[in-house]
Symmetry: C2
Subunit: 143 residues, 2 copies
DNA sequence: AATTTAAAGGATAAATTTATCTTTTATTTT
DNA sequence: AAAATAAAAGATAAATTTATCCTTTAAATT
């Protein structure tokens, strides 16, 4: 469904979103541990998120990463789009170059309904929402 | 969503399912062309499907592949399961080792609904259904 | 200013997926 | 029986994704 890079990105962002006001900064090591992702690979992914202004990064002692205000409000959709592109939201299930009503594949109608449901869910679920669910003990970040 | 190998498998099977009674056999070349898939790679995938008894293969002159009766009735679900495994139907969206109600990730409830919808659709859509939709001109196999 | 800390950047490597090519085996036709 | 045909099998290669490592840059502390 999503690439590993994308899952690492989501889990890193959600972890940062769970941190309380005033101590929202975390270092790479801490993030990678919390997100269950390999450190160096995570670093690379975080830089992408920084470039997208979803994260702030601070160098030097006591440096690290913070989720930006924008990042906190960001829907899950955006993370997936940034890391994996939007083929999962737009592409044909069976590999036709274009998914369209005009030239549909043999599962288009059934598949589109599901894909749109997924898209809607991803667009309306923010990292903040996910973090809250974790902070209230309803769900979990790690296995 | 699905791997290329999986899309090639589905499109090859659907193509074979579109062939009319009495001339249901096709060679690798014809199949690969119809399914828009690379020939040698397709050959490898077809062998997997033969091993699963979803296809029959005949060597020698006028040889080729035919969809088996079992294959014709097979739900799309089975092709995906054989080629990609069932992580798409069972796995956690965010990478937790187990997807479960007891230890859910932060999108579990929302995601599970969608995933189950997908699973249901894939279980109830047979290759025959897809082939019929193509044969009646409602949908298309190639771009 | 010098030292330490931690991210940025870039090079490299491992693993997996996708793709191709060559030889062997089975089958049909001559 | 010999030749031709087409899939099976296995080796190899290219491309992509995942992962690690090393040097540079920026910032805080001493
Ligand atoms: S054309 Fe295949 S999903 Fe729309
Ligand atoms: S635990 Fe993540 S989808 Fe079920």
């Amino acid at each position: 469904m999503f690439s590993k890079a994308c899952k690492y990105a989501i889990n890193s962002m959600v972890f940062l979103a769970t941190l309380p006001e005033g101590q929202e900064r975390a270092g790479l090591k801490e993030i990678a541990f919390a997100a269950n992702s390999p450190e160096a690979f995570t670093a690379k992914i975080l830089r992408t998120l920084v470039r997208e202004n979803l994260l702030l990064s601070i160098k030097g002692p006591n440096g690290g990463f913070e989720i930006s205000d924008e990042g906190r409000k960001t829907p899950l959709y955006r993370i997936v789009q940034v890391i994996d592109g939007d083929s999962i939201f737009k592409g044909c299930a069976l590999g036709l170059q274009e998914c369209s009503e005009k030239h549909p594949c043999s599962v288009h109608h059934k598949f589109k309904a599901i894909r749109d449901h997924l898209t809607g869910m991803m667009m309306t679920t923010t990292l903040q929402d996910m973090a809250l669910s974790i902070n209230t003990g309803v769900s979990f970040l790690k296995t």
